[in-house]
C-alpha cells in the first residue's frame, strides 16, 4: 500500500521521493543495557519516521541519528526483514512484535502508530532468554530444544521424491500450520509464566503428524519436553497469550497434542529413563 501523494512515485525521471509521505514525530522509550551484568534503564529518544516505514526501518533512522550524534546505536536483532526468520525480537507497547496480530516486528508498519505517540520498546524477558545487549536476548535455549529431538533421521543422498509418501490432506495441512513456527520466542515473551510450550508443541506437532516424523515421535517428545524443562522455562497455565501474540498464529491445540504425545510416550514407550 502506498500512502501519500501521487507524486511519490515519479516514474518519468525514475526518482523515488518520499517528501509527501506523512511524517510522524515519535517518542521512543527504549531499554538500554550494556550487557547481562550491568543494570539497564529506559532511554527516551525523539525520532521522525514516515508512516510507510517498517518498525525496524524506524529503528534504523534512530540508529543513524545516534551514530551522527556519536552515541552508541541501539542493539536489536534483525535478519530477513520479510517475516519469515523470527529474528526481530522485541516487545512493543507490551506486545511481542507489537499490537498487530500475526505480524513480526519487521512487518509491522508505522502507519499503525499515531503521530506524537510514545512507544515503549523492551527486550523479550524470560529467565531462559538471558539478555545480551539492549534489545538482544540469547534464544539458544530453543536451539537446544530442537537438538533434543526436533528433527527426523534420514539417509543422506539424493533428495527423495516429495510425493513418494502419501499424506492425508488435512493432516498435512495441520502439520504445515505447526511448521509455520519461526522459533522467534514471542510465545515465551508473551506468557506470564515464560513457558515455551507453544514453540515446543509446534515442533512436536509438525513432525509427529507426518509419516517421516512419526517413527521417532516418542523419543522426540520425551527429549524435547525434558530439554524444555531443563532450560528453566515456566509451566503452561493455558492463558493462551502465546497464541494471541504468535506472529505465525500457531494454535494452542498443538499444546494439547504435545500433552497427549507426552502422556502416551511416558506411559507406553520403552524408554526407561
Amino acid at each position: 500500500m502506498i500512502v501519500g501523494s501521487s507524486k511519490s512515485l515519479q516514474t518519468d525521471n525514475c526518482q523515488l521521493t518520499t517528501d509527501n509521505y506523512s511524517k510522524m514525530k515519535l517518542t521512543l522509550k527504549i531499554w538500554r543495557q550494556k550487557n547481562a551484568k550491568s543494570a539497564g534503564k529506559f532511554e527516551s529518544h525523539q525520532v521522525v519516521a514516515e508512516e510507510h516505514m517498517s518498525f525496524l526501518e524506524m529503528l534504523d533512522v534512530l540508529n543513524e541519528q545516534l551514530i551522527s550524534e556519536r552515541k552508541e546505536p541501539v542493539a536489536f536483532e534483525h535478519d530477513c526483514r520479510e517475516g519469515i526468520c523470527g529474528t526481530c525480537s522485541m516487545v512493543i507497547n507490551g506486545h511481542p512484535h507489537g499490537l498487530m496480530q500475526g505480524t513480526t516486528t519487521c512487518q509491522l508498519h508505522m502507519r499503525h502508530f499515531k503521530d506524537g505517540e510514545t512507544i515503549a520498546i523492551e527486550p523479550f524477558r524470560a529467565q531462559s532468554f538471558p539478555l545480551i545487549k539492549d534489545l538482544v536476548v540469547d534464544r539458544s535455549a530453543f536451539d537446544r530444544i530442537i537438538q533434543a529431538g526436533g528433527y527426523i533421521s534420514v539417509n543422506t543422498g539424493q533428495a527423495p521424491d516429495g510425493n513418494a509418501i502419501p499424506i492425508e490432506k488435512d493432516q498435512a495441512l495441520d502439520a504445515f500450520n505447526a511448521a509455520a513456527c519461526i522459533g522467534c520466542g514471542a510465545c515465551v515473551a508473551a506468557c506470564p509464566n515464560s513457558s515455551a510450550m507453544l514453540f515446543t508443541s509446534a515442533k512436536v506437532s509438525h513432525l509427529a503428524q507426518t509419516p517421516q516424523g512419526e517413527i521417532e515421535a516418542q523419543r522426540r517428545v520425551l527429549g524435547m519436553v525434558n530439554q524444555m524443562d531443563e532450560e528453566g522455562f515456566g509451566r503452561c497455565s493455558n492463558v493462551t497469550a502465546c497464541e494471541a501474540e504468535c506472529p505465525k498464529e500457531i494454535s494452542v491445540t498443538n499444546i494439547a497434542r504435545m500433552n497427549r504425545e507426552y502422556l502416551s510416550a511416558s506411559l507406553t514407550s520403552d524408554v526407561m529413563k
Partner: protein, 245 residues
C-alpha cells in the same frame, strides 16, 4: 530418576496432577452441593442431619474423605510450587508495559490469576472447615432427633453461623473466587489432558460456563437463604468453631 517420578515432576506431569486433582475436586463440589442443598429443606434440619450422620459414619465415605483431603492438599501445594516455578522463570526484570491478550473464548484474566483465586479459595476452605468440620470433630455438638434416632444437630450449627453477616460475606467472596477459578480451571484441565478438539472443545467450554455459574451460585444461595429467609434463632446454642456463637 525413576521414569514415573520424572514423568510426574516434568512440566506436563505437574500440570497433569493439577488437572486430575482439579477434576476430582469439581466432582466433589457437585456431590457436596447435592447434599448441602438439603439445608434449604423446610423441615427443621431433619433431612440434613440424617444425611450428615450417614456421611460421617459410613466407612467408605470416610475413606473417600481422606482421599479428598489429600487431593485438596496436593492441588494446593502443586499449585503453589508451579506459581513459584513460574515466577522464577519470568526472571528478575519485569516488563514496564505488558498487555496480556488471549485466544478467542479464553478467560485470560481468570487464567492469569489462578494462583490468587486458588489462595482465596484455600482461605475460604480454612474458614469453612474451621467453622464446621473442626467444630464437629472437637466440640460437643448438641444432639437432635433424626426420625427416632439421635444425631448431631449440625443443621443448627450451620444456621447459627449463617445468621452472622460476616460469615455470609466470606462465603460470597469465596464463591466469586470459585466461579472464576472454575471458569478457567475446567477448560484448562481438559487442555492439559490433551483434550482439545473441534468436536469437543465447544462443549467443554460451554460446560465450563455452566459449572462456573451454577455451582457457586447454588452454594452461595444456602447462606443467603438462611440469613435472609429464615427467622432469627430464638435460642442460640452453645457451640464452638472459629465463629462460635
Amino acid at each position: 530418576m525413576n521414569w514415573f517420578t520424572k514423568f510426574l515432576t516434568s512440566s506436563i506431569g505437574q500440570k497433569l496432577v493439577m488437572s486430575l486433582t482439579g477434576l476430582f475436586l469439581i466432582s466433589f463440589l457437585v456431590v457436596h452441593l447435592a447434599g448441602n442443598l438439603q439445608l434449604m429443606a423446610d423441615d427443621g434440619g431433619v433431612a440434613f442431619n440424617t444425611y450428615a450422620k450417614f456421611m460421617t459414619g459410613n466407612p467408605v465415605i470416610k475413606t473417600i474423605s481422606y482421599g479428598l483431603y489429600a487431593m485438596i492438599l496436593l492441588h494446593a501445594f502443586q499449585g503453589l510450587a508451579l506459581w513459584f516455578k513460574n515466577r522464577k522463570a519470568r526472571g528478575s526484570e519485569k516488563y514496564a508495559v505488558k498487555v496480556t491478550r488471549g485466544a478467542d473464548g479464553v478467560a485470560t484474566s481468570a487464567a492469569k490469576q489462578m494462583a490468587v483465586l486458588g489462595t482465596l479459595i484455600l482461605a475460604f476452605l480454612l474458614i469453612h472447615m474451621g467453622d464446621f468440620w473442626w467444630a464437629m470433630k472437637t466440640e460437643a455438638v448438641p444432639m437432635a432427633d433424626c426420625g427416632g434416632e439421635p444425631c448431631q444437630d449440625l443443621y443448627t450449627k450451620v444456621y447459627a453461623s449463617f445468621k452472622q453477616w460476616w460469615v455470609v460475606a466470606a462465603y460470597i467472596v469465596g464463591m466469586i473466587a470459585l466461579a472464576f477459578h472454575l471458569r478457567h480451571g475446567f477448560w484448562s484441565a481438559f487442555q492439559t489432558l490433551g483434550w482439545n478438539h473441534p468436536k469437543y472443545t465447544p462443549a467443554i467450554n460451554g460446560a465450563a460456563w455452566v459449572i462456573a455459574l451454577v455451582l457457586p451460585v447454588a452454594y452461595a444461595a444456602i447462606p443467603l437463604y438462611m440469613y435472609f429467609a429464615l427467622p432469627e434463632m430464638t435460642t442460640v446454642p452453645e457451640m464452638g468453631g472459629i465463629f462460635g456463637s
